[in-house]
């Protein structure tokens, strides 16, 4: 307290210090780093992201993990329930092993009766030779992470009505089911960004026309489009080609939503002064879009993309269910569920409905990831 009731701080004060040091050290990083830092705090999103990354990285190597091929049949073991892996046989540690199964048709109930042979435990083999597969579709190999012991089966999640291993099929199915979303989203991205940015950037008549196109597309129920488009696919195309078309169809149906948000974002970003600044310095429209607009709404797009991928995955399932999507011998989760969509499968062979689980898990993971991304989009605000 000095004279006249005044308080004056006595700490040393440097008037120009603020000019030389950055104010928010924590924000001094490229955008992706800031997003990442913030995203890291969203635990659920982080876990989902890691899980999904793992899933996608595994796709080329499913052949290695799967003990069987996708269409490998065991005619002796149809509709086998999931087999459990044991470690101890009569109190004695054997390492992972299974009891071999014999199955027999019951002509009264018309069910398969599966009996484990509890006398002869058989050890699971690791890094063993099995059916041939291709790593990433290219490099042939026969080594599997684990295989069934000789003369026995290893159906972790049971087998289906042709004696195919559901676990292996789910792994192979992931190859198609997980990529359908990515391809679809790519298509939808390309179209959405293109039309959205054209509408947003040029405005006026083009904007009006694009808006009408979007309105038209949105007023058509998806179903007939699916039907018509998939019926229009030349019928002599291979399953994989059909698959691509399906993904593209899904993408084509998805773009209007994206285009709208791109357009809205574009309209608001255009008003940002750094965009104006670039324009006034003589930057071309292309440069403005590339250097200023796109990078700044990419993160929004990525977030909305992650949120659309599950819809695409579910779309594939639904299409395959309706018999419009993928068909055997292609293996996808939708195809597998299509096999399971009758009462017998649910009541008598419930394990044939297991493909529901990966769908649920993947969709959940994508949603949580998208949520996390959305929350961390604006790293500058706290």
């Amino acid at each position: 307290m000095t004279q006249d009731n005044r308080y004056v701080d006595d700490a040393p004060f440097d008037a120009d210090a603020s000019l030389r040091e950055v104010e928010r050290k924590d924000l001094d990083a490229p955008n992706w780093l800031l997003v990442w830092r913030k995203f890291r705090t969203h635990k659920l999103g982080l876990i989902s992201g890691i899980f999904l990354l793992f899933c996608y990285l595994m796709l080329p190597f499913v052949g290695f993990v799967a003990p069987y091929g996708p269409n490998e049949r065991d005619a002796e073991h149809l509709f086998t329930p999931p087999q459990s892996i044991h470690l101890f046989h009569e109190g004695e540690f054997l390492g992972p092993f299974i009891y071999p199964l014999t199955s027999e048709a019951d002509m009264e109930t018309f069910q398969w009766i599966v009996k484990p042979d509890l006398e002869t435990p058989k050890q699971i083999e690791f890094f063993c030779e099995g059916s041939k597969y291709h790593i990433a579709g290219l490099i042939p190999s026969r080594t599997h992470l684990f295989c069934a012991p000789d003369g026995a089966t290893l159906f972790l999640w049971g087998s289906d009505r042709l004696g195919r291993d559901i676990f292996s099929r789910i792994l192979y199915g992931a190859q198609l089911s997980l990529t359908v979303g990515l391809i679809g989203i790519t298509v939808s991205f390309v179209l959405g960004i293109f039309f959205g940015s054209v509408a947003g950037y040029f405005g006026g008549r083009i904007d009006w026309v694009i808006n009408r196109v979007i309105e038209v597309l949105r007023s058509l129920p998806e179903l007939p489009l699916w039907l018509a488009l998939s019926a229009a696919v030349p019928s002599n195309w291979s399953p994989v080609a059909v698959f691509f078309i399906i993904s593209i169809i899904l993408g084509i149906l998805d773009w209007p939503g994206l285009a709208r948000s791109v357009r809205a974002k574009f309209l608001s970003l255009r008003e940002e002064e750094y965009v104006r600044a670039a324009e006034m310095m003589g930057a071309s429209s292309g440069r403005v879009i590339r250097k200023h607009l796109l990078p700044n709404f990419m993160s929004h797009l990525i977030a909305s993309a992650t949120l659309s991928i599950p819809a695409m995955i579910l779309g594939e399932t639904a299409l395959s269910f309706l018999g419009l999507g993928l068909r055997a011998p292609a293996v996808s989760w939708g195809v597998m569920l299509n096999d399971a969509q009758n009462l017998a499968s649910i009541e008598i062979y419930p394990w044939t409905a297991i493909p529901m689980l990966p769908i649920i898990v993947i969709v959940l993971a994508f949603n949580f990831l998208g949520d996390g991304l959305r929350d961390s989009l604006d790293p500058y605000q706290q």
């Binding site: 659920l44 949105r218 058509l220 998806e222």
Partner: protein, 342 residues
């Protein structure tokens, strides 16, 4: 007055859009190779039902299916005279369903109110579930409550509808005695409304409502939550708090009111998504809604039927969008004042 002008303007664009949509629809339903009657004739031949072939041929001429496609379109719309003069959509003649051998209007009439009923129930379910959950999730964002709500919501979204339906039906029947399929016990069909009939309908609605509703509810919940979170960060919310408002009342009066606008904007999209979304479920559950009719018509290329249903849905969508646009202008004074883009 300005509203009226706006409504008229929107109506004009709607008509234009509808015209384009009609061309598209006609093109789409004719996209798959073949047509109903040719397929039918082949089918009759294959199964030895020669006697029915003649009738199919008769219909082909009657409905000008032997004409080029663009003429068929014009006749269908009523721009060109058909074999019996002008009688297209414009003249109020919606065509003939080959599959049901009945005027399209009769068939659609039957399933329409059921569609409305099922979807209404589903929408109610969606709102009843999504509204509180979304608001709570936003108010308690990033807490266990939020995550639990999200988990439940996503679970609903992720479970394939058709499988859920089958499972619920089977076990619902086994353990709770719920009826399998249909929308009411058949004996009530065509009967006047009675308490028993209502009960029967309600009982039959449980599973479909749940199945159709879950995916919609989770989507809506997530959107509501995101919108609410956006609004919660706005200064006017703090103003309300500074006034001394209770949080619950504040939530309902301010952010929810604003966050809700997008849902008004969505009225138009509700219908097509419901029709598409409930088709699978309706097929599995055997509901006599317009969805399975449409699917059946599309698959068998019953062109007038599918064309009409599609046009109808498109019309409803467009009217819905129009209404929601006008409503938005009424509801949101900002738009009324500043104009609305797009």
């Amino acid at each position: 007055m300005e509203i009226l002008r706006y409504a008229i303007y929107r109506f004009g664009t709607m008509l234009l859009t509808l015209l384009v949509v009609s061309v598209l629809i006609f093109w789409i339903i004719n996209l798959p190779p073949g047509d109903y009657l040719s397929n039918q004739i082949a089918e009759f031949r294959a199964s030895g039902q020669e006697s029915l072939v003649a009738k199919a041929e008769f219909l082909r001429q009657e409905y000008a299916l032997d004409k080029p496609l663009w003429q068929q379109y014009l006749i269908w719309m009523g721009f060109l005279p058909g074999p019996h003069g002008f009688s297209g959509m414009l003249q109020g003649n919606f065509g003939w369903s080959f599959e049901f051998d009945r005027p399209v209007s009769e068939i659609v009439g039957d399933s329409l109110w059921l569609t409305v009923l099922v979807n209404l129930a589903a929408v109610l379910f969606v709102y009843m579930v999504a509204l509180p959950l979304g608001v709570i999730a936003a108010a308690k964002s990033r807490t266990m409550i939020d995550y639990t709500a999200a988990f439940i919501g996503y679970l609903g979204l992720a479970t394939p509808n058709f499988l859920l339906a089958l499972i619920l039906f089977y076990y619902g029947n086994k353990h709770l005695g719920l009826p399998i399929g249909g929308l009411m016990a058949p004996e009530y069909e065509g009967m006047p409304m009675s308490w028993d009939k209502v009960k029967s309908i309600l009982l039959h609605l449980i599973v479909p409502t749940f199945v159709i509703g879950t995916s919609g509810a989770s989507a809506m919940m997530q959107r509501l939550r995101a919108n609410m979170l956006d609004e919660l960060g706005k200064p006017y919310v703090e103003t309300a708090v500074a006034k001394g408002m209770r949080p619950s009342r504040m939530l309902a009066k301010y952010p929810l009111r604003v966050a809700f606008n997008p849902f008004v904007a969505d009225i138009g999209n509700l219908l097509p998504s419901m029709v598409s979304g409930s088709v699978l479920v309706s097929v599995v559950l055997g509901l006599q809604t317009i969805g399975p009719v449409l699917l059946q018509a599309l698959k068998s290329q019953d062109m007038f039927l599918s064309g009409f249903v599609l046009m109808f849905v498109a019309l409803l969508t467009l009217i819905g969008t129009m209404i929601s646009d006008v409503l938005l202008v009424l509801l949101d004074p900002r738009i009324r004042y500043e104009g609305r883009d797009g």
